[in-house]
Amino acid sequence: QKEVEQDPGPLSVPEGAIVSLNCTYSNSAFQYFMWYRQYSRKGPELLMYTYSSGNKEDGRFTAQVDKSSKYISLFIRDSQPSDSATYLCAMSANNDYKLSFGAGTTVTVRA
């Protein structure tokens, strides 16, 4: 079993829809949670960063962390065609010198 599980999709939604992405993990030591967006043939770029449990909102993006369930989510409101990309969850523990990634979910927003 992988340390971080993420449904690879693909996920196709119409423009304006809410996109819901999630990851589960097994390592209870994880404290730092990130979402990266990766466009085709580009490097991952950081979208959201959360420490421990809770919610964080940034524009159309909301990240949620539920450590008790070992479950994290990313919501994209009013999705746009420009949101079409692969979304990767990543996490690390204190004193970790690496990120553990999910497999990535490919999202297509149809105009």
């Binding site: 690879p8 730092y32 990130m34 990266y36 990766q38 043939r41 580009k42 490097g43 991952p44 770029e45 950081l46 960063y49 420490y51 692969t86 990767l88 990543a90 690390s92 970790d96 010198y97 690496k98 990120l99 553990s100 990634f101 497999a103 990535g104 490919t106």
Partner: protein, 114 residues
């Protein structure tokens, strides 16, 4: 003024050759990484360096040898390339303060071994 830059962007080479990928970051970070992304987009850590010191070597074959001449640079040398080494290699950097572990990635080097 790219934050994390790596060269080359594309690399096509024959089996058995030796090649190097270079990485530089201008963010002033103290930690740098090499990740490998396979054809299914899964990103896996290979090495991490903190202040030029090797911290993580994640069961990578000895044919892969990272070198960090200073905190801003982390190069990757690969000997005797094999078909299975074909992948995208990403360099990344971060600052290892408490509560601040997010990594910033370069654009990747797409390595194809033929």
């Amino acid at each position: 003024d790219t934050a994390v830059s790596q060269t080359p962007k594309y690399l096509v080479t024959q089996m058995g050759n030796d090649k190097s990928i270079k990485c530089e970051q201008n963010l002033g970070h103290d930690t740098m990484y090499w990740y490998k992304q396979d054809s299914k987009k899964f990103l896996k850590i290979m090495f991490s360096y903190n202040n030029k010191e090797l911290i993580i070597n994640e069961t990578v074959p000895n044919r892969f040898s990272p070198k960090s001449p200073d905190k801003a640079h982390l190069n990757l040398h690969i000997n005797s390339l094999e078909l299975g080494d074909s992948a995208v290699y990403f360099c990344a950097s971060s600052q290892r303060d408490m509560m601040n572990t997010e990594a910033f990635f370069g654009q990747g080097t797409r390595l194809t071994v033929v």
